[in-house]
């Protein structure tokens, strides 16, 4: 009898400028394997199922506990973190593909730098006078407000929500659900709210909140279960009010 194996079909691409191709791999079964540990086994012995020695598969990973956001890829059609995807929960052969909404670097590695430039665009920070002690903290925050804010603060910029969003893509201006959620988080901080208007204007511009098509895919794929659509709903109301203020010249 053949020993039990784990079978993977992996979409590969040697450089950003070369065509993609598929390769099939089989590794010996081991209990508890996740996608990253399976890819580690492949890189140690990069031999295809039909016995050809090939270049090891390149991919991105770091923390291995689903908190750094590095190892996002499409696994059997779903964008998710490779480290926390256990082999035993998957149908085989397992299909691995790079995220499709970002430029490919090599194999399963993509360039997600746009995520971070969009965070810059929406001014996702709190304006502080400087990183020194002013002998005072921020104003108090109720446990209820904390509970909601904390959900948003766990966004690790993994890119899964953008992958699932039909409005997000290389040819499109939409900044994506994560940047909107970051605005929601910053606007709800007691002093972050002082600059709410600037952030709302940023998301009322091209590529902002009005580009959301309300498909609700983002919230379904978020590995951290962040209520992205709730944030977008809240921001929708806030920007409508802001629009009225802008029209009638009322200040905050």
């Amino acid at each position: 009898m053949m020993d039990k194996t784990i079978d993977l079909d992996i979409r590969r691409q040697d450089t950003p400028y070369s065509p993609p191709y598929w390769q099939a791999f089989s590794i010996p079964y081991r209990e508890g394997h996740n996608i990253v540990s399976a890819l580690m086994a492949i890189r140690e012995q990069p031999i295809t199922r039909d016995g050809h020695r090939v270049d090891p598969v390149a991919w991105e990973f770091n923390c291995m506990e689903e908190v750094c956001g590095a190892c996002s890829m499409i696994i059997n059609g779903h964008p998710r973190q490779a480290c926390s995807t256990l082999i035993d929960t998957l149908e085989q052969p397992i299909r691995l593909e790079p995220l499709s909404k970002f430029p490919i670097v090599r194999d399963l590695m993509v360039d997600r730098s746009r995520i971070f430039s969009d965070l810059k665009k929406v001014r996702a920070w709190i304006e502080i006078d400087g990183a020194w002690d002013i002998h005072e903290g921020a104003p108090r925050i109720s446990p209820e407000a904390w509970k909601e804010n904390y959900l948003y603060s766990r966004c690790m910029s993994c890119g899964c929500c953008m992958e699932a969003c039909p409005q997000y893509g290389p040819e499109k201006a939409f900044i994506g659900p994560d940047s909107l959620a970051a605005v929601r988080l910053m606007n709800n901080h007691p002093t972050g709210s002082y600059h709410k208007q600037q952030r709302l204007h940023a998301i009322m511009a091209d590529g902002g909140i009005s580009d959301c098509g309300n498909a609700q895919n983002c919230v379904r794929v978020c590995p951290k279960e962040i209520p992205l659509t709730t944030a977008i709903g809240e921001l929708g109301r806030q920007s409508t009010l802001q629009l009225l203020r802008d029209l009638f010249g009322k200040t905050q």
Partner: protein
């Protein structure tokens, strides 16, 4: 026109980002180099919290007690003025984080809540659920992004540090780096360089809680260029890590702080499920051996206790290398809110729910107390570290600074839980301020450094890459890394002895040679991860030698460094004042006379060269041995 002064920061975790922020705020230009997007740095893995005395729990906590706990917890090996300053400035640092928008958990009154951590008796740990490191890093990341938008900071993500470039006087004037996508090798000049490259847990292979990029490589590269390591033998093994073939995942000390209990069945042959074993058939060994601290003894004590239970008493669960960490007696709603992040990790990777059954855990390589040697300037007025001194966090290479886990500054022989986020942030801030003042006093112009020095270093690095890519040896770098991990954790681990350490040194030498005879099996010249990894592997082996040689040199037990042959334990049932205890105290003082000193390791052709330096004990003279009974 004079060129504006420029600083390079290597690493974008808590330490690096804090340093970058303070340099940018001082008006200098900063380039940050990182192996990946800085938001993915290992700081995000810190879970439980960050220590600062706020005394909001009616326990009469004090900054002084924080200083004492840190110094004693570290078995007095840390230089005391920097520790004093760190503890004093901790509350101000936390307030700054709060202003940055960090989502600290709250009390009913809306204040930052505090939890209990190991090695202390008062609640002193501020936290954000069980993802505190992630939240702190994001707070600073946001501020650095703001500086980026203002044009003061530029990030170079996906670049790996290869080496320093020095001028004719040996002053650091830039770096050589490799682009991890194109594999291009380039040089970048700078007036000062801050190394904030994090920990080196990967030296212990997959038997570590560290991220796969925590290889210590950057620190090892400056070591080979003359920077000293200090106290490298002190490596913390976290007592409660989840078992795993690819990685041992951290289960925060907060689990014990919130009431988690560690136990084993009294009968190792007991095959019943944990929750079917009645109370009287369980051994809560930490509570039994250390009644006053119980489950919240410091990490080195807890790790050794687990080692003893498993290896000396043969009481590991089911005869295997594991014990229970039990939360099932606690209120499920309460622990879900306080520990959600780690419960989630356990559920996802182990497939069992810690709310209903105890977790299975075992000690794992977690944190390097040792690291690059850094200086500090004493403040005569308050016996702390002098604020803003350009000597603070300077390495022995002029113009090169180090902060965060890659330095050796604050933890002595053992780090207390929730002091690492504090030291990473504090040291980053101090290093940034020190460098700003170093630049203000700098006379010479960067343009005076001959171009040739940069070009020579670039070609040296290209030659190394070429040799490795063309090497037709038999060795597989990934297989060698497994061997390194097994070797380090079994022979240079929780319990050490000189014969084994000698053997480990020669095995490491052998591994080092084999790592030269590799076959990368990789022809692609784009994003060649095998080449990058092999270079890191060679440096990890060198670090293994530094750790082992330092461990061999120190014949005593102190903090995380434990050699049973030289053990000195307090007599059973004797306490201060008893003659037996006082005799023990005298013996302990004798031992301090001989061994209370900093280990310095220097690179030489014949291997790591060991020497010692005195410790600054000006704040708390070592009169009281650690005693957690």
């Amino acid at each position: 026109m004079k060129r504006p002064r420029k600083v390079i920061v290597i690493g974008g975790g808590l330490g690096g980002l804090w340093a970058a922020l303070r340099v940018a705020e001082a008006g200098f230009q900063v380039d940050i180099f990182s192996l990946f997007e800085v938001k993915r740095s290992h700081s995000v893995c810190a879970q439980g919290g960050i220590n600062a005395c706020f005394d909001t729990k009616g326990e009469r906590d004090s900054v002084w007690q924080h200083i004492v706990d840190t110094l004693k917890g570290g078995a007095y090996l840390a230089n005391q003025p920097p520790v004093k300053s760190m503890c004093e400035e901790a509350p101000g640092l936390i307030r700054t984080f709060e202003r940055m928008g960090v989502t600290f958990s709250r009390t009913a009154e809306g204040l930052m809540d505090l939890r209990l951590f190991g090695g202390v008796k008062n609640r002193r740990t501020v936290f954000a659920g069980a993802s505190t490191g992630q939240q702190l890093l994001y707070g600073v990341d946001q501020e650095v992004r703001r500086q980026e938008a203002l044009g003061r900071v530029q990030k170079y993500e996906w670049w790996e540090f290869l080496s320093l470039v020095k001028d004719g006087q040996g002053v650091c004037k830039g770096i050589v780096v490799m682009n991890l996508r194109t594999m291009d090798i380039k040089s970048f000049p700078a007036d000062a360089v801050i190394l904030a490259s994090g920990g080196m847990g990967q030296v212990f292979g997959h038997r570590s809680t560290n991220s796969t990029n925590s290889t210590g490589t950057a620190a090892c590269r400056v070591y080979q260029q003359g920077a000293w390591f200090a106290n490298s033998e002190f490596f913390q093994f976290h007592p409660t890590a989840m078992l795993g073939d690819d990685k041992t995942r951290l289960m925060s000390e907060a689990a014990r702080g919130e009431g988690g209990r560690i136990w084993v069945p009294k009968d190792p042959g007991d095959r019943r499920k944990a929750n079917q074993i009645p109370e009287h058939e369980r051994l809560y060994f930490l509570e039994e051996w250390y009644p006053s601290y119980g489950n919240t003894v410091p990490r080195d004590v807890a790790s050794r206790a687990i080692w003893k239970i498993v290896h000396e008493m043969g009481l590991g669960v089911g005869g295997e290398d594991k014990v229970y960490l039990d939360l099932t007696h606690l209120n499920p709603g309460f622990i879900e809110q306080r520990l959600h992040a780690i419960l989630d990790i356990y559920r996802k990777f182990h497939g069992a729910d810690p709310v209903h059954e105890p977790m299975e855990i075992y000690p794992s390589a977690h944190y390097a107390m040792g690291g690059l040697w850094v200086d500090f300037e004493n403040d005569e007025t308050d016996s702390g570290m002098k604020p803003g001194s350009p000597r603070n966090h300077a390495t022995n290479i002029p113009g090169l600074y180090a902060c965060g886990e890659c330095d050796y500054g604050y933890h002595g022989a053992n780090r207390l839980g929730a002091n690492s986020l504090l030291s990473a942030s504090f040291s980053g801030r101090v290093a940034g301020e020190a460098v700003s003042n170093y630049l203000k006093g700098l006379q010479d112009d960067l343009q005076a450094v001959p171009e040739q020095r940069f070009n020579d270093e670039i070609s040296r690095q290209k030659t190394i890459n070429k040799q490795l890519t063309e090497s037709q040896g038999m060795e597989n770098p990934y297989t060698l890394h497994h061997e390194l991990g097994e070797l380090m954790s079994s022979q240079v681990g929780v319990v050490r002895n000189n014969t084994t350490l000698q053997e480990a040194l020669s095995s490491l030498q052998d591994l080092g040679q084999r790592s030269q005879a590799v076959n990368l099996r990789e022809t692609n010249t784009w994003s060649n991860q095998a080449l990058v990894f092999t270079r890191q592997l060679q440096d990890m082996i060198r670090l293994g030698q530094v750790i082992t040689a330092s461990a061999l040199a120190r014949d005593e037990c102190r903090g995380a460094h434990y050699k049973p042959a030289f053990d000195l334990t307090a007599p059973k049932d004797a306490y201060p004042g008893d003659p037996a205890y006082e005799a023990y105290r005298d013996a302990w003082k004798q031992q301090n006379k001989k061994w209370l000193k900093t280990t310095i390791t220097e690179q030489s052709d014949s291997g790591p060269l060991i020497s010692f330096q005195p410790v600054d004990l000006s704040v708390l003279p070592p009169e009281e041995p650690r005693d957690y009974r």
